[in-house]
């Protein structure tokens, strides 16, 4: 009993104030991938490389668009790896819960 008490006191409090106090993920964390519209050339390399297939390239009369859904994303970072123009980066953002699947889709466009 005394030993248990000793261990408990030695350990102290390990729980944190999250979510009242935000916590930053460590450097190199594989979080939400972000698209940079000014750099993207819409070449489609990320579309081909994405293992779960959650990046789509669309082309219509208005121009081109690239959509990425965080819904099926496995945060592997293959898109970042294959992108020739650094237009996609995995960030340290991890709070991705949303009420609808549509909220989890991000779209960038370029008009012709």
């Amino acid at each position: 009993m005394f030993e248990i008490l000793r261990k408990t006191l030695k350990t102290g409090t390990v729980t944190t104030q999250y979510p009242n106090r935000p916590e930053t993920a460590p450097e190199g964390f594989r979080g939400k991938p972000e698209l940079f519209p000014e750099k993207c050339t819409y070449c489609g390399e990320c579309v081909k490389a994405c293992p779960p297939g959650v990046i789509w390239l669309n082309e219509d009369n208005d121009g081109k668009s690239l959509a990425l859904s965080y819904c099926g994303c496995i945060f592997c970072g293959r898109c970042e790896e294959v992108c020739p123009s650094d237009a996609v980066k995995l960030t340290r953002e991890y709070e991705l819960a949303s009420k609808t699947k549509d909220d989890l889709v991000t779209i960038i466009r370029r008009k012709i």
Binding site: F75, C76, G77
Partner: protein, 522 residues
């Protein structure tokens, strides 16, 4: 490998060997279909070679035949002997070996469901993976079965074994359980508290992973392997990558080998800590559970700092690793040294607690002969006297260059399984420290452009035990990928471990065997 085995088979059985093919440490012997039973029986009982997998492949396009492979491990020589038979499509059946080698049971039933090849004389020919609502002539792993096929549901019935007698009643548990866990059905037959019989039924979430492998590119398949069993991601990914690297004849750089070793041991650490926490929870030792969970969380946060993923995902790739873990050596060493002290304190308290000892000693005994017959692997096997560890018997990554002990106990109870894991935690810490001390600069990946046509085994010792991949490639695609997760071997052990125990001890017995639903229901 010495040809001692081949010679002796030739001597004992005459001209039954149709073809012999040696590639690295794997010897493939194609034998006459009707002689497979006696040869497997001979290897298993005479040479004491464990049967580590049986799988089929549909190669009808090439020669009109299905193939069945019986994989035996020759532990002492770091080699594998694979007995292969051809099965003509016109007579889709083969003789069952389950009555000679009990661990063949589920493999043969799996082949029956997936390929429509009937194991003649199987003691339990019921369906295993395809449920009763699955039409009778649809075999998912045949090449002519399209992956997009949607089948109608049919009527059918599954018959459980029954125990009858005065005062005997059944307790059905699951497939939906209290708590966020995966589905599985447990049917207990009890008389009062003691369990007379348990029958398990699984594969509720069969995902068709082996079929999926055949339909994706090899670079993407690594990520699929990572997701076969979520908490054994590294072990699965490394096993898969090693199979492909073996086919390509590629040697990965030393830094990649050491990185893989570190990742594999970090995975073992958080798994074992989690299992010990689970056992403590189930014996109501809340203090121990809280601390073991805290330590598990610390390792997972370390994983996150080192690899960017708590579950160590996205690190492996064909030819090496994707990210250099350099610069984090100090952090790892510091965390591990405090974990070592913290953990040994905790284990001293846990094993000294009478309330814990009372619940785990002699509980859920898995007898050594049963464990051997079922081919129980990993810590569960080692707690029942099975002195096998893939890291030592078939060294991969950097294990050949590192020193470690393989803890083996014989009592086969929950206590032994807890102690084996506890001992392995110290071995893992030491392995990571050794690996870091030999960590040299250099490339982390070798580029493999073309993957030649071929086949090979890839294997690792996952936290749950021996994990095996057999991959066959053709034109840069996967022709067949057989995944053998440790839980596929270990699930049946629970039917024996619970006998004569009381129902309230089922949760700890289950936890101490640490069985994966996902790895099993592939």
């Amino acid at each position: 490998m010495k040809s001692e085995y081949t010679d002796s088979i030739r001597k004992e059985f005459g001209s039954v060997i149709l073809d012999e093919n040696v590639s690295r440490n794997e010897t493939y012997l194609t034998v006459k279909k009707d002689s497979a039973v006696k040869i497997c029986d001979y290897l298993y009982h005479h040479f004491d070679a464990p049967l580590v997998s049986i799988f089929a492949a549909d190669e009808r396009k090439a020669d009109g035949c299905f193939k069945i492979h019986y994989v035996f491990s020759l532990d002492k020589e770091d080699a594998f002997l694979i007995i292969k038979i051809n099965i003509d499509e016109k007579s889709p059946e083969f003789s069952s070996i389950t009555h000679k080698i009990p661990s063949a049971n589920w493999y043969e039933r799996e082949i029956q469901d997936m390929f429509g090849l009937v194991p003649k004389g199987h003691p339990d020919p019921r369906r295993l993976i395809n449920f009763e609502d699955w039409p009778s002539d649809a075999y998912p792993l045949r090449k002519d079965f399209d992956i997009r096929t949607k089948l109608p549901r049919v009527k059918g019935e599954y018959v459980y074994r029954r125990v009858e007698g005065e005062g005997v009643y059944e307790i059905p548990v699951g497939p939906v359980h209290a708590g966020v866990i995966e589905p599985g059905h447990f049917r207990f037959s009890v008389a009062g508290e003691p369990i007379l019989n348990l029958e398990i039924r699984h594969f509720y979430t069969h995902k068709g992973i082996e079929k999926l492998f055949e339909n994706i590119s090899i670079d993407k398949a690594v990520f699929l392997a990572e997701r076969v069993s979520g908490d054994n991601s590294v072990a699965h990914a490394v096993a898969f990558c090693q199979a492909i690297e073996k086919i390509a004849g590629a040697k990965i750089p030393p830094r990649a080998k050491y990185t893989r070793t570190i990742l594999l041991e970090l995975e073992r650490l958080y798994n074992h800590l989690g299992d010990i926490a689970g056992i403590a929870t189930d014996v109501a030792y809340a203090f121990g559970a809280a601390h073991a969970n805290r330590l598990k969380e610390e390792v997972m946060q370390l994983n996150e700092s080192v690899t960017g993923s708590r579950l160590l995902r996205g690190m492996n790739t064909i030819g090496g690793v994707r990210r250099d873990i350099g610069g984090r050596e100090e952090l790892i060493l510091e965390k591990l040294s405090s974990l070592n002290l913290d953990f040994s304190d905790l284990m001293e308290l846990l094993f000294a607690s009478p309330s814990v000892a009372d619940r785990i000693e002699t509980t859920g005994r898995l007898y050594n002969d049963i464990a051997k017959g079922l081919h129980v692997v990993g810590p569960a096997g080692r707690a029942s006297g099975i002195d096998r560890d893939t890291r030592r018997d078939h060294p991969y990554a950097a294990y050949r260059e590192l020193a470690f002990d393989v803890p083996v106990l014989k009592s086969g109870d929950v206590n032994a399984r807890t102690r084996v894991r506890s001992d392995e935690v110290y071995e893992s810490i030491s392995l990571i420290e050794q690996a870091l001390s030999r960590f040299s600069d250099g490339d982390i990946k070798v580029n493999i452009k073309e993957i030649p046509d071929g086949y090979a085994l890839g294997y690792t010792e996952a936290p749950r035990g021996e994990t095996l991949y057999w991959v066959k490639t053709s034109k840069n695609r996967i022709e067949r990928c057989k995944v053998r997760d440790p839980s596929f071997c270990n699930w049946l052990a629970i039917e024996y471990a619970v006998l004569d125990n009381i129902v309230p001890d089922f949760p700890i017995i289950n936890k101490s065997l640490s069985l994966s639903y996902s790895g099993n229901d592939m």
